[in-house]
Subunit: 317 residues, 4 copies
Amino acid sequence: MRYLVSHPQVQLGTCLANQQAGEEIAHVYPSLLGRVTGQFEKANYGVLGKEHDVVFLCLPHGQSQGPVEELISTGCKVVDLGADFRFADAEAYRKTYGESHQCPELLGKAVYGMPEMNRASIASAQLIANPGCYPTASLLALLPLIKTQGLDSTVIVDAKSGVSGAGRSAKISSLYCEVNESIKAYGVGEHRHGPEIEQFARQPVLFTPHLIPMTRGILATVYIQKDPEELKALYTEFYSEEPFVSVLDSGLPSTRSVAGTNRCHLAVCPAHHSGYTIVVSAIDNLGKGAAGTAVHNLNLLFQLPEETGLESLALAP
Amino acid sequence: MRYLVSHPQVQLGTCLANQQAGEEIAHVYPSLLGRVTGQFEKANYGVLGKEHDVVFLCLPHGQSQGPVEELISTGCKVVDLGADFRFADAEAYRKTYGESHQCPELLGKAVYGMPEMNRASIASAQLIANPGCYPTASLLALLPLIKTQGLDSTVIVDAKSGVSGAGRSAKISSLYCEVNESIKAYGVGEHRHGPEIEQFARQPVLFTPHLIPMTRGILATVYIQKDPEELKALYTEFYSEEPFVSVLDSGLPSTRSVAGTNRCHLAVCPAHHSGYTIVVSAIDNLGKGAAGTAVHNLNLLFQLPEETGLESLALAP
Amino acid sequence: MRYLVSHPQVQLGTCLANQQAGEEIAHVYPSLLGRVTGQFEKANYGVLGKEHDVVFLCLPHGQSQGPVEELISTGCKVVDLGADFRFADAEAYRKTYGESHQCPELLGKAVYGMPEMNRASIASAQLIANPGCYPTASLLALLPLIKTQGLDSTVIVDAKSGVSGAGRSAKISSLYCEVNESIKAYGVGEHRHGPEIEQFARQPVLFTPHLIPMTRGILATVYIQKDPEELKALYTEFYSEEPFVSVLDSGLPSTRSVAGTNRCHLAVCPAHHSGYTIVVSAIDNLGKGAAGTAVHNLNLLFQLPEETGLESLALAP
Amino acid sequence: MRYLVSHPQVQLGTCLANQQAGEEIAHVYPSLLGRVTGQFEKANYGVLGKEHDVVFLCLPHGQSQGPVEELISTGCKVVDLGADFRFADAEAYRKTYGESHQCPELLGKAVYGMPEMNRASIASAQLIANPGCYPTASLLALLPLIKTQGLDSTVIVDAKSGVSGAGRSAKISSLYCEVNESIKAYGVGEHRHGPEIEQFARQPVLFTPHLIPMTRGILATVYIQKDPEELKALYTEFYSEEPFVSVLDSGLPSTRSVAGTNRCHLAVCPAHHSGYTIVVSAIDNLGKGAAGTAVHNLNLLFQLPEETGLESLALAP
């Protein structure tokens, strides 16, 4: 909503909520005070789709499939920020999420909404599967290779995320006192974003997520068996025209330099031993890793300049 | 710089720095990567004033006086974010900062740059003394009283600030490990923002600042011997047309709802005992408490709509 | 449990839990790995009281009354860390907690377990009402006055607490992302610890709690209309023999210097205006403000040296 | 000092400091108030060595060599927490630290002070080279393999540290506002702890350190091309008698469960793809990663029970 409120070509329509339906939006989110009026409403997707040009869905996995079917049938465009349409293959979805897909016929219509990967097909799609936060950070660190020579060995992605990645539900594991002054790995060897990355990497990916004591941001440290000099040149060239991805000339990225924005900072570094490259990728998991890319996809869907509404800079230098 | 880069009526001119002169701006502040090019430069105020319509100064106390004299003589407008021109009276300055003022004749020209207090005189001024961060939070919690019936007894201001208020110099007391997981009071009974507040309160103000483990934000809790019902009505009316100050209908303000913005959230609450009102005021010390108000003053100085370039919302709800 | 495991005169008995009954203690609290074996058990207070010399209760308000009745009848000693026995007067309890007290006849048996206030009567009691965390910090800043000349005007207590004060239940307001990088006041004019403080202050107390982004610690800033010189001498003398309370010669207390300990650091400071004293008090809300004092009371109840098991120092300097 | 003050067999002798010589110890470190009296003193190593049984040195790299020579000649034992005696080979030291070693003849006398690796030789040594914090976390995750079958391929160590690892000097990069709400990698491919680990791993180690927003703790995530089932059994057996290292049956380690202690928690996990094991290792960089191991070495040097003075548990569960 923060992005949409500031987007000059967007008129904010109905704001949906489940548990908070009926509450004043600005009471639930006081940062919107004076900018957004009205209440959250319960969803009626059949009606909604007719009244809006595009609907953003932010639902837990398994819950977007019905709504997407309804919305798509009205002709409305959909950007789904959930996981349900990220796999091209229904079987891959079932293996990863443990449930059969309810509308596998729509998987072929969905475009994986990473603009740097699929710019042209996004522009002509009706249904966008917005990428996961970890896959965004990880794939941007691999994309120049994937799109050119391909990967030829196992890749290690050691990723660190702020707590907002866990959503806003009341869980003990997300309590301040559980997270503060600590770091842990979680979902080692079994996190669902591993297969999402592998779908595009086409090589084994050892993906290990960690929870660190901050609100926003993901840093992915990616270990690749390739020559660093060659990769630095390749990455710099590949991203030279991208509006939101920067390969740093020198220095290493920090998440705080991209927090609150739709930007990604990358560094391509030689490891201590020859033959390995370490690519470090920093994004805001809620920005470039979710809502920012959703707005980027909106701009592509409606042929707007790509940076529209996405100009904000990080608060921290 | 973050505000100015996004301001549609501003063309960013020379960026000054002392120790970092000669360095690439986007290297020092990677969040500006792709938006700002060029290097920091050493100041030559005589030349600068001729080439720019307005100069913002962000210097330690005692160091703005010479530059302001030079700049003013060129006809340029100046917004001084430092402390040197905040007191109308040179003697008050000397008592508070321990040094004589070098250009007391300019004090009369300076307007205290709090728009809610001095909107009209700011618009016609050449020299603006941007308020201190603590005085902004504190005075906004007192202004409706000051401007109407006045205060008639000692006021207690218990204020809590994030660490960015201490600036970016390398001091042990600002190290992560000194500040994290701790709170302390400091400057009890002797902080320089006490007299700055009293200059307008015209009553004794017991001002106690505290350092808390966060980057941005000030919360001031202000204890006033007045009837809370009456004050709530007064404050709500007083601020009803102000673009950046909201008196909350219900609930209590959090600094995170205004972080990164030029906004102030106020709550006017009854105390446990009759006859006392507790006003709670939340701002971003670097936004409404410094750079945001400086841009607000810029808009007033150049007759621009007051909210121009100040629309950003807090990242956190 | 951390304190008890390290106490040389204590043998840890049954560990009770409600929701986590049946789980391995060291699985729930991995910090106890290798030091505590066994599982949490459901409570049977009648049996428990016969098998143990002392039972510590840590229950939500309103839930200790039945267990205390059962335990007391077995002859066992009880340290209740909850709120149910902190008021000497059943009517004060009802007004503050909104429910009638179920065993008002036991209120007279209960001793308010602040050793600095009630050392002798604690030693001979069977039932100890361990003080609240905010009242501990606040009353230690007032006790020398209360015990000698008394207070003669309204006192303002502006208190700031880490998040552990809210307990470990899964509430949205205690989530990392809600608390981090923010400060807010809460319960203004209506927090239940206000009347608990007033019970001993015998003057109106304006008590305002704030939530700050840290795990442990309370800092109370207390405004008193008294001469600071006189108070500094009084406080220094009053606490000169206390093992756990220090009046600082110079400097101001930080919560991190007492975190994890049973200590309180106090500073007695002149305000900016004559006639006011500002006392700043720092404790660990879970240490001196809860478990530490409970162990201190245990030592008094069993005539052990008062510092036994309470020697630990803060991790942070 | 915190550990030594609580150690029942230690009498704290002279406390050295450079910049803070002459200051009251308890004024510099208020957490020691009431437990430590006296002032910091300037070092005279020739005298010191005669008056003390053991001296702990905590000096920047390159600065321990002279003091160690002087101390050793007096017959005193030395635990050097700095880097100067960690390499057995003077040339490896020179390559890593960029300076020639001044007393290479002492390198043969020094024992690398990791008790789990060198228990027996520590007990009979005069000079202990206490391991670096990152090497402690990393080597404990590799030691069972190193000591048995050896490593046979490149190992990746992705390590994350709290800020206290950077020491207490006033650097901009350690300021609260630079570190808070951010993560970054640093020293990629060139950190000096890489060669320290490789000295024992005898295989290439890709070591990447990261700075995360917390005070204490290191988590090392170690990627090994070995069968996870086999490694889990090996590690569990190898550490079964170690007093300070636990291989978790289930779950994953958090740094907060070992913060403030001399303990290490390890998990041995299968990766998403067969043939890889991920070992996660959590320590307190200032505890097991520095002062805790120094005290452990003291216990070994003087034939005291190994856990003496090291019983403290983490504050957080």
